[in-house]
Amino acid sequence: MVAPGATQGIPLRISLVDLLFSWPPNGGADVDLYNLATGLVRAGHDVQVVVVNDGDSWERGAIQSGHFTFSLLGVSGTGHHFNRKRLPGRIREAVDTWNPEVVFLGDGFLMKPYVGLALTDYPLVVRYYAYEMACLRDILHFKDGAPCPNHYLKTPGVCRACALEHLGPEIKSGRPHAWTQEYLAAQAYGPAFRTVAESFLSQVTGAIVYNETMKSHLVHHCKSVHVVPGGVDSQHFTFEPPVPKTPKDAKRILMTGRASDPMKGLDVLLEAGERLYGQRRDFKIHVTVPEETALPPFALAIGWQSHTSLVNYYHQSDVCVVPSRWEEPFGLVALEAMATGRPVCASRVGGLQDIVVHKETGFLFDAGDAAELAKQLELLLDNPNLRQRMGIAAHRRVYGEYRWPHIVEHHYLPVLEAAIAEHREGRRP
């Protein structure tokens, strides 16, 4: 934890820059930035969010709702504007109009170093939501069913070849996704990108990550790296007691998030379901995968759910499962489920093991261990009292440690204030 700086108690002017923000959200990082901005405003600070608009893409800057409590400014990132020379300058201009005391650089991929270097006149805090700087291919740092042993900053040649091999077909199609657009725009395939990335990391005032593994990736490159958990909007994800069920009613097991991604471990949950289905038929697994996905009879594809409709799904569920196979940086869905008072069975990886307290707020199992998950689900399905007890404990844990006002006050503000103080210190002759 960083000691509070000299600006504590005085409203700050803060710019949050995000290269991928969309609303309604496309993922956890969008939710995180929205809640951070809202939390900072509620804490009395002036907040401007600068986002990149790309009219052609649903993955970048697609913003539907205008009901934001913070000031939102869009910078054009369509076509020829989206490159390493133009975009950073346009973002810098947008930030300059606000004249902030500190800049927070949120989600983005390989354009982040270029954008960050254009903003280093300001105290700059960068948030890493996944393993962006460890992997050029994607943010996951996950290969052939296991965490990748390579690291871009250490083995750039291997990673450059791997990235092109993986992204090649998508690039050739002429319709690259938002992340691949950043790979091309940043020219991350070339040898010069590593120097840019290292220069950027050495110049940021502070970096924020979700867990200790992520910290270890950056600690040799950045001046200061802080582990800050994500939060949950407790006014949105409200506690609701489970719907009373008779022994004949089907209990609902819920898996949310980007479940169609193989590293999220849906196969593990389905294997556990298969084991249970051999013995009992009193459950149904609901999964947020595209509706056309073929699933076994005990599972139902409920499609992509909005931030609003998701709450109802949590309320109607009995148990939530997060069976990730990769080193999940944080695991926001576990937190959301816990906030609504549902016990969570999660794999023992990354940030999930910090969130779920084994045998207290749910259960942890080794990643990929379907047999263990089946046992845990069986125990929970058989014991409504256990589900209730764990659900209440889960809600209490979230309410005590992961509410956004708490996260903003105890984690983000000290880091932002320290960045301002350090920047001032560095400028003193």
Partner: protein
């Protein structure tokens, strides 16, 4: 949109249910015909759909046979409007060849707009896109070989 039989064409993406809700809200008197794959669980959209066209297995894949099959199904539905989820060349082409007079796109950020591109322009755009993709790939390939 004034009438009345609206085909809501499914593609893999985050906003199909949102699109159906928007159609129901904006055009309460219209008949909403959902065009969904065979494996799509109807119960998820039951309250939003009036009729359903089941698209063949693998309708999301490319290929002339699949496209012809999908077109046949769409023509049979006799809709006055078709709404797709993305303004891609493929969906543009499919919708314009469906014979459905009014074509719209519903975007992730909740906007309806008219699709205006015709097949020759679509083919030109697709070819241009592919050439740009090959060029980008060549540059990246060359870049990875530099030390």
């Amino acid at each position: 949109m004034t009438e009345q039989r609206i085909c809501a064409f499914y593609s893999t993406g985050p906003h199909y249910v949102r699109m159906l809700r928007a159609l129901r809200e904006n055009y309460p008197d219209a008949v909403i015909v959902t065009a969904i794959p065979t494996a799509f669980p109807f119960e998820v959209i039951a309250e939003l759909a009036d009729e359903t066209v089941r698209l063949p297995e693998g309708a999301q894949r490319r290929g002339i046979r699949t496209a012809l099959h999908v077109l046949k199904q769409l023509r049979r539905a006799r809709c006055s409007h078709v709404v797709v989820m993305f303004d891609s060349p493929r969906l543009n082409l499919l919708s314009s060849m469906s014979g459905i007079p009014h074509r719209r796109c519903y975007t992730v950020d909740g906007r309806f707009y008219r699709l205006t591109r015709r097949p020759p322009q679509l083919l030109w755009d697709a070819a241009r896109e592919r050439v740009r993709g090959q060029w980008d790939y060549l540059r990246a390939w060359w870049g990875t070989r530099r030390l």
